[in-house]
């Protein structure tokens, strides 16, 4: 285990060290005090434990790495993640996993507005609740919410799937509740298991695209 103390090392030093790590290497990062762009652009299956709160874009564009944050995160946690796993024990601010293409993001606490905006294949599991406009223009991947969802969930959603256990304040344009078929139950069960969330799949409801806005139609203009 290599320890990096951000009281002594700069963010540049930290990222150089983590980006240069080999698969299986273990790092612990301390004294984060909300610094931005921590542990970004990793490309190998290193294990990083971050102790403390982090600022914007922590774990941005992650590939392969397994990153655990023991604290809360600012905006854009794991933005554009490609693969690997990012887990946060606290809450995440806006735009968590924005545009992320792959991998798994687990938020044990709550996630603020626009969680999973434009997601492109990532799986996101939120232990708590999510804010408004989450999964806006979500393209693919799954967003699992064990708590409640805020206003306009899944507005203008494409092919992403949303599973919510609690209440949905309102659905966004073109987002509808959909049947929970066996393949969805299996997918959800697997995600709950991977993220270590102890809920039954039957407690969840599924939401997705009505696909009415896929091609511009003047008669649908009031929906926009």
């Amino acid at each position: 285990m290599t320890e990096i103390n951000l009281d002594k090392s700069s963010v540049r030093d930290l990222n150089v060290e983590l980006q240069g790590g080999s698969s299986g290497d273990k790092f612990s990062v301390n004294n984060t005090v909300g610094k931005h762009a921590l542990s970004v652009g990793l490309t190998t299956a290193v294990n990083v434990e971050i102790n403390g709160h982090v600022g914007y874009y922590c774990a941005g564009m992650n590939q392969q790495a397994n990153i655990v944050i023991n604290g809360n995160a600012g905006p854009g946690l794991a933005e554009n993640m490609m693969s690997g796993e990012v887990r946060i024990t606290g809450n995440a601010s806006q735009y968590a996993a924005a545009t992320a293409h792959g991998g798994l993001l687990v938020i044990e606490g709550d996630s603020s507005s626009r969680c999973g905006i434009s997601m492109k294949g990532v799986n996101i599991v939120v232990g708590g609740s999510i804010g408004h406009m989450s999964a806006f223009m979500a393209q693919s991947g799954c967003l699992v919410v064990c708590g409640d969802a805020g206003d306009a969930l899944g507005d203008s959603i494409y092919e992403a799937k949303i599973y919510v256990r609690g209440n949905v304040k309102s659905l966004g344009t073109d987002c509808i509740e959909k049947e929970m078929r066996d393949e969805h139950k299996a997918e959800l069960k697997e995600l709950l298991m991977q993220s270590k969330m102890n809920h039954g799949v039957e407690e969840f409801r599924r939401y997705g695209s009505a696909r009415k806005l896929y091609n511009f139609d003047i008669d649908q203009v009031d929906d926009y």
Binding site: V11, R12, N15, V16, Q19, H36, A37, V40, G41, T43, G55, Y56, Y57, G60, M61, Q63, P75, G76, E79, N80, M82, Q94, Y95, A98, T99, H101, R114, I117, S118, K120, G121, F136, M137, Q139, S140, S156, Y158, E159, Y214, N215, F216, I218
Partner: protein, 440 residues
């Protein structure tokens, strides 16, 4: 007034094209979406002229005395700034809006001419990377095809906040251009209309942008120059904020800048012309003492070496061409006039880039049409065109006695109209008068 019947007087308020648009709107119920750039008559670089050297200044000998054109972009923070042989670069245009062959042609042409080309929405294709010696990778709101591997393969990163054709607007790639390959690169189903977001999904405002730039630099080891591109509107403030956020290069795109698909009302009525935009950007850089430290690239309606020379004389470090580059490849060619006419247009008027049925095979994903453009020949034409612009630029610079094109300055020019004098901040010809700045 009709030439056949002098008693028929056309209305200035309702000329035929306005009437036709009202009729079209009434028939279809939808606004006009098209490509190309603004078509209205606005003040341009044509309204400026150079004061060649004579008694008080001496010129340089054409073809004999050196007039260099090299430009370095992005040496503020980046470890590996861009070195170009000519200050004429190729603007961002997407694979999706353009065929793979057209993108390859742009890469080939730029490489022969010693300049850079730029990706667009939808990500980087191997053809484009492979054929482009210097490739700028656009970081756009949609993040279609965005991934850190391609980011690291790029020579520079351009964060796009806006575009001259539509500052404040996103894009729309209509379903007919969403081929299986385009769909796969953008993680979306085939054949659906793809909306490109108008603002970035993970930040709002200049303070966030500063952190975003830090993140991109951390991911790419502080090697790549970071450009910030804005559509020309509140140019002074936008340039100031981009520099404050840490940009190495600022790109300002005037309202004449082209687009692949935008509402006509947006193209014609939002944004300001390139002419005042250059001056405002330079003023912002000078006020921060960052002129020539953060480089300025100007685009939007650049067509000739004269346009390039005038943009540089106002203080730009380089220019970008988009529409003109497509014309050099073969867009609007009379060779396809019959086919343009068959789809209700004509060579020289074609603007339905969104339709995907481009007879020249450039703004299309139809494999049969796309085959019409030979990327080697297209690249050669583009290189020829850039070389001509560079020669014209040098001709004008030598005439003003400049041994480097960056030595051109506002003092070398006067304006032919009061509007241009006010916008460019150079005197009206024959006077010392710059409107808004006093003088005789």
């Amino acid at each position: 007034m009709s030439k056949d019947n002098p008693t028929l007087i056309e209305s200035a308020t309702f000329p035929r094209h306005v009437i036709a648009e009202i009729q079209r709107a009434a028939k279809t119920g939808i606004y006009d979406i098209r490509g190309f750039g603004a078509k209205r008559d606005i003040p341009t670089f044509d309204d400026l002229v150079f004061l060649g050297a004579s008694t008080s200044r001496y010129p340089l000998e054409g073809y004999r005395e050196k007039c260099t054109t090299e430009v370095i972009l992005g040496n503020r923070f980046a470890k590996n700034p861009i070195h170009l042989k000519t200050p004429i670069t190729i603007a961002g245009m997407s694979f999706g809006s353009l065929s793979a062959q057209a993108k390859e042609s742009l890469g080939r042409g730029a490489t022969i001419a010693g300049t850079s080309t730029t990706t667009g929405d939808g990500g980087m294709t191997p053809e484009e990377r492979g054929h482009s010696k210097t490739l700028v990778y656009q970081y756009l709101p949609s993040r279609y095809g965005m991934n850190p591997d391609d980011l690291r393969k790029a020579d520079a990163i351009e964060i796009v906040l806006g575009q001259g054709a539509k500052p404040g607007g996103g894009g729309m790639l209509l379903g007919q251009k969403i081929s299986p390959r385009v769909a796969q690169m953008r993680n979306l189903p085939e054949g659906i209309d793809q909306r490109s977001a108008c603002r970035h999904p993970d930040w709002t405002g200049p303070d966030d942008l500063e952190i975003k730039i830090q993140e991109l630099r951390e991911i790419t080891n502080w090697e790549k120059p970071i450009y910030v591109k804005v559509g020309a509107t509140r140019v002074f403030y936008d340039v100031t904020l981009a520099v404050k956020a840490g940009a190495d290069v600022v790109v300002v795109d005037g309202m004449q800048g082209g687009t692949a698909a935008t509402q006509d009302v947006f193209i014609e009525h939002v944004g300001i012309p390139t002419l005042p935009a250059v001056r405002m950007a330079v003023e912002a850089l000078q006020e921060m003492d960052m002129h020539r430290k953060v480089q300025l690239i100007v685009s939007g309606g650049i067509r000739s070496g004269a346009d390039v020379a005038k943009a540089l004389a106002l203080g730009a470090d380089a220019v970008s061409i988009g529409t003109a580059a497509l014309i050099a490849l073969g867009d609007q060619s009379p060779e396809f006039d019959d086919e343009y006419k068959a789809i209700g247009s004509a060579a020289g008027f074609w603007d339905d880039y969104q339709a995907g049925n481009d007879p020249a095979g450039i703004t299309t994903q139809d494999p049969e049409l796309a085959k019409r453009l030979d990327p080697i020949l297209g690249g050669r034409r583009l290189a020829n065109y850039i070389n001509v612009l560079t020669l014209e630029l040098q001709t004008l610079a030598r005439a003003c006695g400049k041994s480097h094109v960056h030595n051109l300055e506002p003092e070398d020019m006067v304006a032919l109209t009061m509007e241009a004098a006010a916008m460019a901040g150079v005197p009206l010809a024959g006077t010392d008068w710059i409107p808004g700045k006093g003088g005789i």
